[in-house]
């Protein structure tokens, strides 16, 4: 706990030096803010009075032990679940349901098995009533972007797990939402594919200027990809701390995993979480 605070203050001061107008500065630009959100399922209190800000253009991870309400929070932001109390704002507007400003990437990919890759990627646009030729042109662009060129007419069952999630990602990118909500997107793909995904995700955050909200249960993954990590503790879920690793972000993908700060943060997060893991 002690260590974490140290790491936190260090990273935060480093960030302030680098970027005075950043999220900790005066002009806070939050793409998403969650205000005092509670959620109960029957008698179970999943989230209690949770407040959290998601700075625009950054990737924020929600990290915590299983059952801590990470996915519930993400679905509330997505508008798929309604909070029992409190409010969520996206771009300054209160969330009342799913909206065009948010796109979701699912843990189990949620692809239509009867539809080709092209139709799956274009599906979000199809539901918005865009004309077929137009939406397919956009979809093809994003299929290339995620590295699936040549698989447009394959069906999901013909793809590997990693490729299926690329389809899910391309579908979310195709609707051009400001906020990408990712629910443990890499947990169902193998370790090597996952590493490649994480590297690609860093590029994506840098290039797309979108806000990413990323649920994960992997500490290493969270530290590796995030600008900001919110650690959630369970029953009822609350934000226990916010860590902003930033000192090693520009050291390149190859050196990142052995950077001392990276390793320190991983260790300190584990130290604070271990007592919650049975």
């Amino acid at each position: 706990m002690q260590e974490t605070t140290v790491a936190m203050s260090r990273t935060e001061s480093a960030r302030r030096d680098a970027d005075p107008s950043g999220p900790q500065g005066a002009a806070v630009d939050n793409a998403v803010s969650v205000r005092c959100v509670s959620k109960t399922f029957g008698s179970v209190e999943a989230l209690k009075n949770l407040s959290l800000d998601f700075p625009r253009g950054e990737l924020t991870s929600l990290l915590g032990p299983s059952g801590c309400g990470k996915t519930t929070l993400l679905k509330i932001i997505a508008g798929l679940l309604e909070p029992s109390s409190g409010r969520v704002e996206v771009g300054g507007e209160a969330v009342t349901g799913p909206g065009p400003d948010r796109a979701f990437v699912f843990q189990d990919f949620a692809l239509l098995p009867w539809a080709s890759v092209l139709r799956n990627v274009a599906f979000g646009l199809e539901l918005r009533g865009m004309a077929k030729s137009e939406r397919e042109a956009i979809a093809e662009k994003h299929i290339c972007e995620v590295g699936l060129a040549g698989f447009e007419h394959s069906y999901p069952h013909q793809l590997s797990g990693g490729m299926r999630q690329r389809v899910g990602l391309a579908r979310a990118l195709a609707v051009d939402a400001d906020v990408l909500l990712m629910d443990e997107p890499f947990s169902a793909v193998d370790e090597q594919t996952r590493r490649k995904f994480q590297e690609d995700l860093l590029d994506l955050v840098r290039n797309e200027r979108k806000t990413f909200i990323f649920v994960t249960h992997s500490i290493e993954e969270a530290v590796y990809v995030s600008d900001q990590i919110a650690i959630l503790l369970p029953r009822p879920s609350r934000v226990s701390e916010i860590i902003r690793p930033s000192g090693f972000r520009d050291k390149g993908a190859d050196n990142l995993r052995r950077d001392p700060e990276y390793l320190d943060i991983v260790d300190s997060i584990w130290a604070s979480l271990r007592s919650y893991v049975e």
């Binding site: 798929l80 799913p98 065009p100 979701f104 699912f106 189990d108 098995p113 009867w114 918005r128 999901p156």
Partner: protein
Amino acid sequence: MNRSLLLKLLSAAIVFGAWEIAGRVPVSYAFPTFLDSMTALFAMSIDGTLLRAYGETLRPLVAGIAISALLGIVIGLWIGLSEFCDWLFSPIFIVMQAAPLAALIPLLVMAYGIGLTSKVFVVCIMAMPVIVLNTASAVRNTPSSLKEMGRSFLGSDFDIVTRIILPSASPIIFSGLRLGISAGFIGAILAELKITPTGVGDIITYSRSIADYPSMYAAIFSIILLAVLFLNLLERLEGQLFAGNNRGYVSD
């Protein structure tokens, strides 16, 4: 593809060969050989008997199957989507499926007479329950992440039903249709044997009464052949409509 065709022909040859041998032994005086039956079938096709018979039989059959398929899928969808509707309708179809139909036919005749209506009812009672119950359970078991995906990408309820729930339920709906339609064929013949002898049912009853067994078996064979052809057609249709469903689901 060629291999599968070859296997189909081979299995047909084995079955027909066994039939021929059993007819020649003979296992029973009332059991004609395959070749005799085919000759009778040919003769009936040539002189138009069969054509006239199917003109009669197909009316309740087609009407009953069309009603069962359309209404069955709609009611099944409704049951799958709404708990209230499940409570309201499910018991009816479960009872219908378990009911000893042959014993109930006199009741139908009392209510609806001996005409087309009663026969259509018999076909529907045979065909509809399995279509409804299969559709309902498939709709209820649509993966929830697919429905959430539809909602999060701003699909309307109608979009979600037509573009996600129905296609996702289609393999089980189609298997319900296959079972229901074969039951409907049984129902159509049952109606013609039990209510009034018309069409193919008339050929079966009449040929049996004059001990013309080859004609009787030819008529039975023709109705089975028609059912098989129809079910194959249905399978083709399913393959055309939902190509990716053919080889299992994404989550496997």
